[in-house]
Symmetry: C2
Subunit: 110 residues, 2 copies
């Protein structure tokens, strides 16, 4: 069927990005405020490079953006990725509602 190959891998990256507690925390924080990469790194019990990788994963998933400011890199939440993830889950919710509606129909005519 090959249903929208591009969107599929985009969704893979999105949900993969959400599937890690450190990354979810980074998204939260970077949405509330502004953080440098090392500012974020200071928050977790892992190396700077590990956090840097997490940020890179989030950036590829459009869940954060990075903006260079002098020698620092400012990390901010990016609404775009979140919206896309929510849109998919909304589709699934819609499928559930249609299913419920069909059940109701069957009961009504039965």
């Amino acid at each position: 069927m090959v249903v929208d190959q591009l969107r599929e891998s985009e969704l893979d990256r999105l949900f993969q990005a959400f599937a890690d507690p450190t990354r979810r925390d980074i998204v939260r924080r970077a949405t509330v405020g502004e953080y440098t990469v090392s500012g974020l790194a200071a928050l977790y019990a892992m190396s700077f490079a590990a956090v840097q990788k997490h940020v890179a994963v989030l950036e590829r998933a459009s869940l954060v953006t990075k903006e260079k400011r002098g020698r620092e890199q400012i990390v901010r939440g990016n609404h775009e990725g979140l919206q896309k993830a929510r849109r998919l889950l909304d589709e699934y919710e819609q499928i559930w509602r249609q299913r419920a509606a069909r059940m109701a129909d069957i009961l009504a005519e039965g």
Copy 2:
């Protein structure tokens, strides 16, 4: 901090489960109708065992349920997992709205 360790790994499993196109497709189909494991397996260009594993991942994430019927196993969509995933993304959306509200406040008093 150890914020709700249980829920965290539950969310890991949930989003990890969504991070694969075959699994997303299985959830869709199993929500619309009923499928046996081999009925699902027939739909994809991979082995029965591979599909079986995907179903197991979805089951652990509460995105589908399995019910034994004779020698068959009926796979159905499970609303529970979807709801939990949606609830998390709604939290994140809420954070965005709060952020937007704060921005508006700053502009208003400025």
